[in-house]
Symmetry: C2
Subunit: 154 residues, 2 copies
């Protein structure tokens, strides 16, 4: 694992360093880098894993729902589902009631890979959050969920 010496000079002590938007960007950059590293051995990246995990967690989400939930453009979901489908990890199932709609269904192979990959992701996440107590993690996720969901109803 790369040992990074991050000398940020006096920047950490400025008021700008406490800006929520900046902190979100920095925390997210760290999360993506660490998670991509953890996912490499499974041939996944953050975004493809997110689609797989959403298909594993929810009942037959549509591509439109995945796009809205993951903050992706619908055209990006096409490419991500293509990749997963080629590997036999998910499949598209046309909705009988509305044949424009594709439900994304995880396969057995997808569930198996997801189970292993999500353990690696959890380990990476735990390392990133190691400075927080379990109660603080709960608080953090609760506050993030509150602002993310307020956006969903805008």
């Amino acid at each position: 694992m790369a040992q990074l010496q991050l000398d940020t000079g006096g920047l950490e002590e400025t008021a700008f360093a406490s800006e929520p938007g900046l902190l979100l960007a920095r925390a997210n950059a760290d999360s993506i880098a660490a998670t991509n590293e953890a996912l490499a051995e499974f041939g996944l990246r953050v975004r493809s894993f997110a689609v797989l995990a959403a298909a594993a967690a929810a009942s037959r989400p549509t591509q439109r729902e995945l796009a809205a939930f993951l903050r992706l453009d619908p055209s990006q979901v096409v490419a991500l589902v293509d990749g997963l489908e080629r590997r036999g990890l998910v499949r598209r199932e046309a909705d009988p009631g509305d044949r424009r709609v594709n439900a994304i269904v995880i396969t057995e192979a997808g569930q198996s890979l997801h189970a292993r990959a999500s353990r690696a992701v959890a380990g990476s996440r735990d390392r990133q959050l190691a400075a927080l107590t379990p109660a603080e993690v709960t608080t953090l996720t609760g506050l993030l969920a509150k602002i993310v969901r307020s956006r969903s109803v805008e």
Copy 2:
């Protein structure tokens, strides 16, 4: 302002929706989109604004410090500083003690633009955090700062 109808189906109620990494990604995506929109009239984007704001907040940060602080590659800082310098918003000043090092110094024009742009950014940030009480905002920024800074010492 675009009125987005975000139908996320049942995904919001899954355990995956409470994953910190996912919440960070979603909150950050919302923050970047809203902030870029707020910055458009100033000819800035999130990353160029961040460099400008860091130069405004800190005393003569080096490009290396900016890269570490903003989680950017040093080569990206080159391009961002180039853009700001062309517009006369910052200037590079070689360190007399170590002539490899460039300190980034904000100009008067840079300070003036930063003052106006940061008001727009603050408005956008307040809208994103409107669902939280002031105390919750303080808690959120404190927790994010804790995990971001724990990474800095890794």
